[in-house]
Amino acid sequence: MRGETLVGPTARFGWFIAITALYLLHQDIWLWRQPRPLVFGFLPPALAYHGAYCIAVALLMWGLTRSAWPSHLDEREDR
């Protein structure tokens, strides 16, 4: 299974960086002690940030399914 991915080494490195960066962004220490300002007038900043973080993860996963999907696993089953 290894070595059959259709993603080239540069793209693979790019995705590795993107995934690592998003993982590090989960640790938002710059918002640690900030209860203000309320986003949209009612959401504490940390809650708004992590809500947006979930959307960012969905976008990352969309990108991965578009350009790094392990389609060789499916094709092998069809052969």
Binding site: M1, R2, G3, E4, I19, L22, Y23, H26, Q27, D28, I29, L31, W32, R33, Q34, P35, R36, L38, G41, F42, L43, P44, P45, A46, L47, H50, G51, Y53, C54, I55, V57, A58, M61, W62, L64, T65, W69, P70, S71, L73, D74, R76, E77
Partner: protein, 512 residues
């Protein structure tokens, strides 16, 4: 009584769905149909059911209760960390499990481990460990059902009868419907969860005149303003929580569920929508839990806040029993039901009751997974299917479902819930520390059965050790799951390099 009627109607609906699914099942072999829904689940059921399988009573009640006491940190600790880790593990590990399962006919992870590492009894050791870590969930499910029905019916149905009713309903649709019935019921439950959060937020928000004022009240009070930031939690502790969702793919019921997809493409929507589903369910629950701190017009919430203040001001000499009583009084697991009772119409309380029942009945997947593991990893492996045939194998699985449910019910009647609550917490760490087994089996050709055995023994020892010794392995303020997982990885690497690799023929079959 309206909420009670809604809950009974809900139980009838899921029973119908489970048994209807059984009638509609038609494909492949009997065992694959019963245990894996014939590897034929469509994209919508696959996404909704996989997500629902991961939802427990904690998602609705526990998350709000945790946020009531600890503030907005709850979302980052448990929701957004899962939103990141779980889709990635499904993308990298789940897809490969699916492909190998389809190619080699695997139904359980232990079957793959045995084949991949050319071992027999080491697979049995892993089966025993996985089963031991899974049993507390099943018992908790029965207990939760009894407690929830007792509360929803205002004490009309005793705990024992409520537990029995829930156990019988779950057992029936797992018995008849197998994986297909369980998946359909879970998909229905997920739709209920997704509707609940948004509706509760809108209705309560309207009733109290909007949330901006509530949050301004919290910001203006020095006692509650820390709930809107994370100043009470260390960044290392927060970081530790990103290890916990590694447990998801290592849970046998999730790994087995990955094999039910009809096509690989069904993982695409699942991994994209999974973080959005987490957002839709967790954000309203956490937000409402935090906002409850300002809802002092509800007498029961005010009593909780007073108990919290009394606990904070209590002298060190306060007797342990009094301290425990104050803690129970201050606990926020029921803040959402209280808010609905105070600020929402009866029908929404009924919908919540159904949502709670859906959550506590999440044990269906675990019961089916344990039955699948027993029939495949023990009954079939030790010659049962070849001697008695596949029909007997499926009947054995069904009989196991009945026996397991009865045993869980009897234990639920006799043992205190706190023991199993604790066991479930340790099981999360245990499964996270077992995740290197899957990674090594799928991605590292040099991994060996002895490395796998070392990981299994380490996980068993460390779970027992951390359960018995408070604060054990909590190095540098991290949760024990971090050292447990890192040591698992090291053991897999070191022991594998010291022992003989599987044959070249086996590695070729795995494309390694």
């Amino acid at each position: 009584m309206i909420p009670a009627f809604i809950v009974f109607a809900y139980l009838a609906v899921i029973l119908y769905i489970g048994i209807f699914a059984w009638r509609s099942g038609r494909s492949t072999t009997a065992a694959e149909e019963y245990f894996l829904a014939g590897r034929s689940l469509g994209p919508a059921v696959f996404l909704l059911s996989l997500f629902g399988t991961n939802m427990t009573a904690f998602t609705i009640l526990g998350s709000a209760g945790h946020a009531f006491a600890n503030g907005v940190v709850t979302f980052g600790l448990m929701a957004s960390s899962s939103a990141f880790v779980i889709p990635l593990t499904l993308f990298f590990i789940g897809t490969r499990l699916w492909a190998l399962g389809k190619r080699h006919g695997f139904i359980t992870p232990v079957q793959m481990f045995r084949d991949r590492w050319e071992c027999g009894h080491i697979g049995t050791v892993i089966f025993v460990l996985q089963a031991a870590l899974l049993v507390p969930y099943i018992i908790i499910g029965v207990m939760g059902g009894g407690t929830a029905l007792h509360a929803i019916t205002g004490g009309l149905i005793p705990y024992a009868a409520g537990g029995a009713l829930v156990a019988i309903v779950v057992m029936s649709y797992v018995f008849f419907g197998g994986m297909r019935g369980t998946a359909w019921v879970n998909a229905f439950q997920t739709v209920l969860f997704l509707s609940f959060g948004a509706i509760a937020l809108i209705v309560i928000g309207r009733s109290i005149g909007g949330f901006p004022e509530t949050m301004s009240t919290l910001l203006g009070d020095p006692a509650t303003v820390p709930l809107l930031s994370r100043e009470r939690v260390s960044p290392w502790f927060f970081f530790s929580y990103t290890f916990i969702p590694l447990s998801t793919i290592a849970f046998p019921h999730i790994a087995i569920f990955c094999l039910t997809a009809k096509r690989l493409a069904q993982f695409k929507r699942t991994v994209v929508f999974y973080p959005l589903c987490i957002l839709a369910i967790w954000l309203p629950c956490v937000f409402l839990g935090v906002a409850a701190n300002a809802m002092v017009t509800a007498p029961r919430i005010e009593a909780k806040l007073e108990a919290r203040q009394a606990l904070a001001a209590a002298p060190a000499s306060l007797p342990a029993a009094d301290r425990a009583a104050l803690r129970r009084q201050a606990a926020g697991d029921d803040v959402i039901p209280i808010m609905l009772e105070s600020f929402a119409p009866l029908w929404l309380a009924g919908l919540l009751g159904a949502g709670i029942m859906a959550a506590v009945m999440a044990s269906d997947s675990q019961i089916l997974a344990l039955s699948t593991m027993f029939t495949e990893d023990v009954f079939t492996y030790y010659g049962g299917t070849s001697r008695f045939g596949e029909a007997v194998q499926v009947q054995t699985g069904r009989a196991f479902v009945v026996v397991l449910t009865i045993v869980a019910y009897v234990i639920a009647l006799r043992a205190p819930q706190s023991i199993f609550d604790l066991a479930v917490q340790f099981a999360f760490s245990g499964y996270a520390a077992l995740s290197p087994l899957l990674v090594a089996a799928l991605f590292w050709n040099r991994s060996t059965k002895w490395g796998a055995l070392a990981v299994a023994v380490w996980v068993a020892v460390s779970v027992i050790y951390t359960a018995r010794v408070p604060g054990a392995l909590a190095w540098f303020g991290l949760l024990p799951v971090v050292p447990m997982t890192i040591i698992s990885c090291l053991l897999m690497v070191v022991v594998s390099l010291m022992t003989r690799a599987p044959s070249a023929a086996t590695l070729r079959r795995y494309g390694l």
